[in-house]
Amino acid sequence: MIQETKIGLARLGKIDPENINDAIALGAYDGLKIALSLNPDEILVRYESSGLRGRGGAGFPTGLKQKFTSQSCAECQKYVVCNADEGEPGTFKDRTIMQNDPHLLIEGMLIAAYTIGASKGFIYIRGEYNLSIHRIRKAIADASSNGFLGSNILGSDFSFELELRLGAGSYLCGEELTLLESLEGKRGYPRIKPPFPAEKGLWGNPTLINNVETFVQLPAILINGLDWYTALGTSESKGTKIFTISGRVNRPGFYEVEMGTTLRQLIEVLAGGMKDGYSFAGALLGGAAGTFVDASLLDTPMAYETLKAIGATMGSGAIIVLDNTTDKIDFLQNILEFFKHESCGKCVPCRIGTTLLSEMASQLKTNPEILQKMIDEASYMARTSLCPLGQSPVLPLKSFERYFATAITNV
């Protein structure tokens, strides 16, 4: 019987999230204490060997990113930034973490900062997340008065300041370089890559930017050790992952499980299967910038390498379940409308392409052949767009064609 394995949500429900003593009693900041007793290079090696990969969508090895940032420029001011913008449709894992255990995020960021030599950090949080904002604010204040933030943390040489900044409701501002622009007070347009944030991030300085869920994996790795951590998950996907399941299942919500748990286990066991009268008709994995799967793939383990093998993505961990009543074309059109609406318009292929795609989608029901043309345009957009937003529509489109082509011809 599949069970949840909790790292990010370990203290969920066991503490009053607004009471730091509760959290401390259950081990909060223990990881920080271990970190401060170690040499940053030693910690770097541990995170590199942990196999932890970013939970924000792209799955980049976290230890490597830390190493790049740490080694980027010795004299420079360095920053740690937490991406808590959580704009991917169907995703609410970061909110769950921040609402229930804000100190875990702060601890994760502290360890990362110590590891790379940063003295200043920002949490860029989605503006609508009122409860999370309130709790993070309180947690920062409490952590400061308890000596976990500020100068000479816990009597060490290490100092770290943390600030909370609110996002302005644009999906694109979750993209890391756009987020940095926004943090600098500029309009949310993506920057040219390279340079990457590790080299030139906030105000041109080396910046480590990770997702909330990535940071909260860090303390446990130090506390419980590498052997424990690398035993969790699959060969190339270590640790746990929070999936957020929506659609007509019996228990929609968030589930933190070991990497490699199958889609079937998540939907049929943890989420309690489909509601009465509905049958599973497929799912969109990873949000709008994600991929469709159908019932034939229910036994795929949710791990980077196995998903990749079937051309699917983990993305943010969103699982939107489609059922027998879902109008798949409407569903697709919604996704394309979303891209059109969220395109910043900076680059030509995406600005105009997303508009053209949404126009074409409205013809899908009468003119199924246009799907091919849409894929062709989206592929061109993927080749030439400036940032991942314009490169994304091809993902849902191609997988839609692969699994749901019959949906169009049957209209």
Binding site: I192, H341, G345, L356, T384
Partner: protein, 907 residues
Amino acid sequence: MTKLVHIEIDGLSVEAPEGANLLQVARNNGIDIPGLCYHRKLTPTGACRLCVVKIDGQQGLSMSCSLTVKDGMKVISFDEEIEENRRRTLDYLLAEHNEESDNTFSDEMAVLVNRYGLDKKENRRFGSLLQNLNAPIDSSSPVLTYDASKCIKCFRCIKACAEVQGKNILSFADRGISKYIVAGYGVWRESECDGCGECIQLCPTGAIVEKQHRNTIQLDKIEKKVITTCPYCGVGCQLELLIQDGKIVRSNGVEGVLPNDGRLCVKGRFGYEYAESKSRLTTPLIRKNGEFVESSWDEALELIANKFNEIKLRDGKNALAGYSSAKCSNEDNYLFQKFIRLAFENNNVDYCTRLCHASTVTAMLKAMGDGAGSNSIQDFETTDCLFVIGNNIIETHPVTATYIKRGHNRGQKIIVVDPRWTPLVKYADIWLQPKLGTDVALLNGLMHIIIREGWIDKNFIEERIERGFEAFDELKAVTDGYSPEETEKITSVPQDKLFEAARIYANAPTAMIATGMGMSQQTVGTNNVFSLLNMCFITGQIGRERCGINPPRGQNNVQGATDVGASPINYPGYIPVINDENRRRMSALWNVEYEKLDPKPGLTTIEIMQAIHHGSVKALYIMGENPVVTDPNQNHTIEALENIEFLVVQDVFPTETSKYAHVVLPASSLFEKDGTVANSDRRVLRLRKAVEMPGQAREDWKIILDIAEKMGVNIGSYANAEDIFTEIAQATLIFGGIDYSRIDHEGIQWPCPDKNHPGTATLFLDKFNTPTGRAKLHPVEYINQKERASEKYPFIMNSGRILNQFHSATLSRKNEALNVYGNESYVLIHPDDAAKLSIKDGLRVVVESVRGQLETAARVVDEVAPGELFMPWHFSESPVNALTRDELDPMSKIAPFKYSAVNIRVK
């Protein structure tokens, strides 16, 4: 030197500096990769996606504008797939684009559309989305129109405004396909846009176009393009004028050429209309029975020659004098001074430099042996620290200021010293606001701190200052008396700010000073600059690159006019007239007897006016100057001119001064003649004739020759301006290596002693130009002003310039586009003072001094300190110089335009 790397583009091996932009490198090598959002002057944007290439070893496509070259890089910039992607991108763009053209702008997009065969509608894959887009038009700006339907959202205008001009006014409103450009909060006219037009110049599609000549310009009817120097301020921006039907119809900045690299301010871009103004002088005028009557050139010249000769014979040669002009070319000025020295046989030649930087030049000549700015205009961007004192540089030298704003963006420290708020304060790290007239105390106070804290440069003092530490100790003895407490008492600048400013300036790795008329136009002007130089010397912030002192020049040829000898004390090239050897040298060159050259220094500008008043000067020849507006104590000036026996005014317009003339001569504007000028960074720049003179107007140098000839004096014969320049180069050692062909493309900075010399970007690198080769300290004490605020005149009046008008406004007010940005006089008064006097914003007020009065409108703002007032002096209907006095700085003979005790009251 940057390292060179080798790369390969489409099999062609190319050499380029490491870190150079790949797209630029390709284009420089004739590989025409398309791209609409990239511009040489801007940071790469990566928006249009047309510049795609493939890089060996990298997956997929890359944008060449977003890459820098690395050694060994292999690039494919043209193949079937790449070209197909480009065609597709253009095809996309066409779907949102309005292709109409009225043939008034060059359209980079249309060129590409043709190149990719998309001008044929059948090659396009999508219909137009335009009708659904609701693209707005903003025509609220006085000078330009924005049409979103033609906009390809390339960011060039935004970056032109932010990165090139440092103004940051433009941005996009909305998202995605419906976004469009807005200025400020949405309406162009209400934004901070000051009309420099950089966005127009860099817009690739004509989405932003100028209004001026909108209905006239037809690009296929442009008969020529003429590159010349802007006729306004001393930055010396290079303009490209488009000529259609014999008229100027557009002015653009010349890209890639110094000093401006394409940038302009509103005056350079839109201020050319005066040339064809209806009120130009077109024929000689002679006053007969109190009325001006049109006359022939012959009659006018005859009369002038006879009168000059008659007065010279009757009252002696010292009864004659001339005003040369900073608005005329080097050639005009050179001939003018030659005329005065040979035809009037005295040295009574001066011009308005006496009224702006005479004190600066006097102090600099004494302390360093050169009176010109030590650095290049581009150094304003790269120096680590800029100390701007008494200089509203954003308004008075707008293009120099663009370099400063760029410097600011890269972390340059900026210290502003000004009694009044100026726009540069927005960019400054620190603003010191001393009371008017307390500069020496302030600077001595700064030096006090610098010395106390040990921030002096001992090596520099020992090796490059005359008498080294001995001289330093004398200075210290003076500055010892200016403790921070004492300095705060005199200047009212808080001590912590004094400390901060001293610390930043003295400790910056490199630092430059920009000094302005706030320092120079005082009865202690020379002392002010001495004090500034003392500070510069003891900190060693001169004599290295990106270090030094610069007095940016107000008019386009203030620098050149003195360089070529329009001076009562110096021949061309700053050689004193009192020196015998110099007289011999000049007499040989001019082929006249040595005795003919007067060894006695001549009268300066205001001394000439005073001499007219006393009756010792009886005839005055004015070329392109307007002393009634520009000289201090206007009533005194008018009295003098009303009583002068014979006044000749040669100008392009009737002026406040020409009213008093006996003969008025129609001259040429700078758009109508060949020649050269020297700008604020000593760069000798070409003027080129772009349009014909109106009516019977003549080139100034020709008029001078004509008068000389009629007087029976030979001052040489010249077929054209270039002939005169050849002689200037012989006479003026610092110009020795310059000729027209060498400065055809880009000007050369003097000194340039010989043909192989590249010119001099920074002065004093090896030595100073004094006899000892070392700089001289001149310790000075603060002295209280003679003129003081009193019960009757309780305010101190300051004066200055504004961006969109120029000098006495003879030229600038003839341009609609400039006038819309402000064509009315005003006086700034602090809200506290205004409240006490019940003066409300906009109310008409009378301002009076013991010398005169004027009427203007009040502007109640805290940009001035309580007890102080400020007025722009361009507006002759509210002449600030009715209030000022002609008490002179003893050393330089400059007048205190910045300090008059006045009263202000509601009218």
